[in-house]
Symmetry: D2
Subunit: 293 residues, 4 copies
């Protein structure tokens, strides 16, 4: 397929490389243009402006946040202004339900197709074509994107035809991960103050009922209390919990555990945790209990 | 070994049967004496009173709650009054840290040995010798019990020589399970109100990051909203969260997520959920959001 | 003074009437024009469009929410587009800190003066010139408005020269009132379930330590559980708590009690409480505890 | 009346002195006997043991906590063992609902009368006969105590004939005060981080909607952040919130705001606040937000 790719961060550059390798014709765009060079070396075309990445069958966006996505999507010379009728915008960033709804409406009005396809996975998973992709859009549009998704992910989970549903599922997933972090933080603060070794405790957990990647990965971070460098920054954790809460507010669904998480992230950031991994909220329970980090 | 077994509920009767089958000489006691019959048929001796179950090398207690355990342990003709010097009380019930400390002191004073050995696992695991056993006691005492533990469990996790530590670890584990239930409840309330099918959502979760027995087991209960019959009753869930909070209070460790869980259990019980499984707290998020059960 | 007045709701119409009666030359504007008639009868001039209310020394806005205020303030023929240099916009609505900062910047750029002056008080207080007015702006601007404030309020509280500070103080005050409501709700749920008469309990509270208008006013509503008609709608309560939380997020100040209140309002609205007074969140504690309304 | 008085702490010694001054025949007892001297000088008789204070028409207990009260009430030579039939135990300490119920049952069994009469007021109010007294007991028993209550308090609030109801009302009142402290702490953390002067803010609050003694007294402490010496120690604050939560648990009434307060007190104590006034929980919101004390 002929496809544009906008957003060449840690995630996007690996994904774009995989598409090139699989034989798709890829035109890449990034605000900081130097990031396109490595991909051009691998066979990508380079777009000087957003519009130039919107000439193909589809254009993928993989940006850091809603502001960045809104910036390339709306206005003069934007993605929406440039994409031909019936062509597809595949939106893979983690964004709010509200922005996804706004994009869906704008694309519908412009006669374009919009596929919401946020992903689960870290940069290594992106590079290894091992992402989990959650999709929601009109079935024909999702079907058209299938060749791309098969390259990018290890499994695709379709969630109906309303695009913003995929974004909600993505946000709910990040909420669940943050809940695991908080749970580990409280449990380790409790047993830790009684003198239990954190690594021994983690080994017990992950050898028994909590034998899952998520507990192993985050349990390790929490037990070691090593939160730098950030795999996923605390400020992004706050953003995602806020977006989950905002979706809950629109839907009238109170989420008290998400409220607790929001307060944890704010506390962490207020106390200088801007540069830390989001799993650093786990140390707040220990800190409140008077234990040293 | 020659061993007494006090408490023949759903857990205890399977455990005692396994000890008999493995060739240990078992004397069983239960307040409601009829429960001893099946085990006597398998080769157990029956004790008419607590003291009669305390003549061997060790006596195991596996009772429903702290009151039951305190009832058999203290006072005239009790376990502590009857056990010979150096013999061992293996306490496998889920009890408070405070009661475990009190038992440890009382046994020390009586020249007896006390091994705290609470378990993780449902009745089926007990019957299948597949429990996880968390132990804490003086090393020689734990070593003496090893032949019994090997019969009862699939793996033993030693947590040092202070008996109450094992109880704290057990309580922390139940807190973690309850956290999983609450997390699933909130996440499903959120996506559910947006129209996502709960089973499809669960399949997505357990196929990706949350690929663990705990999410499969409880996710199924939460998705189906089938909370009867209770595998583990809500009132016991409340008890264990309360005991975790009490341990946190003694240690000066605030546990805000456990506080939230306590309020959930109270709400469930106040609204008539006495007979439900503890996973029924998951429906409160949906209920608060105006969704029908 | 020659002054425009935009927003003739329950609060605004009483305030504008007082300005007229005090001899100020008032031009009124309201989106629904019929609301201007009563004031014209009292001596006001009627503005056909926003710009016509912006010809005097100052223009007061008293609107229901941020969207309404933003609607009249920005864009073609708006307040900012119409006000002459050095003239004053007195913003008395309850709005977000962020919108207040945006307005401050826009007025500064346009060479106009901006006075933030939100108020405490219900419609009766507005009609009786008994509002409490919180102000923040450049001292000369506040001084220019003094003749108006003296007509509208019983006391003015200046909070420095950064306009948004007044909005923050206003939001913090509404958070505090909502906290009183929640506190009363929980306390009455507790003693009420033990059989204590709510009115007798309230009499005790307000005769002793809680002898304050706020406890009398809201205590009465909570004890009677009469939440219609709404003096201040639940949806506005949610809005103000959300704005307090948003200000807290910008400033990095976690507010766990405000988070709890937000969840209460969402629950109330999810369960059909759109038309109720915000004090109706007090019934949720009783409801959770299984007491009938 | 001929009355015994057990417990001569800051509260009790002032109360006993007032009874003597009013002409009652008072026999005082205190575990640390030296505290009786000042009262003996004023005309009291001194009891060498608890039983000696139980020979009159009534015996008042005013002790620091439940353990102290249980200690004098139950067992050999205790209050219950010594009081004659039909004589009255007036229990004025702040104790749990459960202990009050236990005392009521024990006195009934012993043919004695039991009046629950906890108080609101600090030591100065006790000394000035200005306490608020909450009573619950059989009407004839309360009537018999009336001459004593009139000396001790400025007003009596009867709450029916079930003694523990008075204790519940007392606990609910302390919960409400702690809620005021938390509310002030969060509001001041919010406006404080925006640069608002805390005293100016407090003046605004107490001049407007929050014009009540409770906001003035605690607002002053919170604004000054002066938490030593403790008027009411943080550890007692924790105890009372815990007792309110325990009462809520028995009654099946979830109290999420009380749960939040409990976590605040635990955090304060974990971080070294044992010696501080309970209003010191107000500084935690500021601390979480990165503001220095």
């Amino acid at each position: 397929m002929k496809v544009g790719f906008i957003g060449l961060g840690q995630m996007g550059s690996g994904m774009a490389a995989n598409l090139i390798k699989a034989g798709h014709e890829v035109t890449v765009y990034n605000r900081t243009a130097t990031k396109t060079q490595a991909l051009v070396a691998k066979g990508a075309a380079s777009a000087a402006k957003v519009a130039d990445a919107c000439r193909g069958d589809a254009v993928i966006t993989m940006l850091a946040d809603a502001a960045a996505l809104a910036g390339v999507s709306f206005g003069e010379n934007s993605l929406i202004a440039s994409l031909s009728k019936n062509k597809i915008h595949i939106s893979m960033s983690t964004i709010s339900v509200a922005l996804s709804e706004k994009l869906a409406a704008a694309h519908a009005e412009a006669g374009q197709r919009y596929v919401s396809a946020p992903v689960f996975g870290r940069p290594e998973a992106a590079a290894a074509s091992a992402l989990f992709i959650v999709t929601a859009a009109a079935p024909d549009a999702v079907a058209s994107c299938q060749p791309l998704f098969e390259v990018l992910g290890q499994r695709i989970f379709p969630f109906g035809d309303k695009p913003s549903t995929a974004n909600l599922v993505k946000l709910s997933g990040n909420f669940m991960i943050a809940s695991v972090i908080e749970t580990l933080g409280e449990a380790m603060a409790l047993v830790g103050k009684a003198g239990v070794d954190r690594h021994q405790y983690l080994d017990f957990l992950t050898s028994t009922l909590f034998n899952a990647p998520i507990y192993k990965t985050y349990g390790q971070l929490v037990a070691e209390q090593k939160f730098e460098p950030a795999g996923f920054a605390a400020v992004l954790g706050l953003k995602d919990v806020r977006l989950a809460l905002a979706a809950g507010e629109s839907l009238r669904v109170p989420l008290p555990l998400a409220s607790l998480l929001r307060d944890r992230f704010l506390t962490l950031l207020a106390q200088g945790g801007e540069a830390l991994d989001w799993s650093a909220i786990s140390q707040l329970a220990a800190k409140d209990s008077g234990q040293k980090a």
